[in-house]
Subunit: 136 residues, 2 copies
Amino acid sequence: MSAGPESLENIYEGYLDCLNRKDWQNLSQFVAVDVRHNGRPFGLSGYREMLEGDFRAIPDLRFHAELVVANPPMLGCRLVFDCTPVGELFGRPVNRRRVRFDEHVFYHFENGLIAEVWSIIDQAAIGRQLSGPEPA
Amino acid sequence: MSAGPESLENIYEGYLDCLNRKDWQNLSQFVAVDVRHNGRPFGLSGYREMLEGDFRAIPDLRFHAELVVANPPMLGCRLVFDCTPVGELFGRPVNRRRVRFDEHVFYHFENGLIAEVWSIIDQAAIGRQLSGPEPA
């Protein structure tokens, strides 16, 4: 099976929609059973646990792709988050303040499924936004 | 002018080679005069100053692309750094310790030149590596 850049973008759009619906039953339509994340052999179940944890920490989490570059079997994306984490995030006490931060992530697809992920989140941006007073 | 994915990759390879040679005279062959970096209107001179500052902070700095995704007019890259910064880096006292960290960066090209850059550096990885003792 060989997907062009446009169909890979379509698959990725479906993946983000799956995350935003928290439709974990269908995650396997987009993520390989032996998926790796930043070098860690998470597998599908570990990957799902990571995402479920993300939504517990950030109940209003929403994945929004600002920029997508696809060239099969690779896809890169700039994700922009605008959300209110309930407690700590990356060790920083966010406590229901609204924060905006970006993630730059690359995916390697195999047979139309995400097989490997390399992600960097702009944690420093969150720290800068927490320098103000806490909300009342 | 319209460049395909492969030629954009070739241009980018030339850009990284230009940086690694510190060939600032030829930077304008790759970077637009009104280039923007993470939303800041640096322009070519400000962009060059940023790079010269990077090399002052990290004399053995070397740009190595581990992963490139090109789909004109966009290109994404995972850069992997393995270097020994002389003093502070991102506010962290590195002091000639060897650190490895990654940068995920997206470029928008216009007329074959880098016109806009969105970059995230994995600063947290540097912090983790500095938790050990300083070198003698």
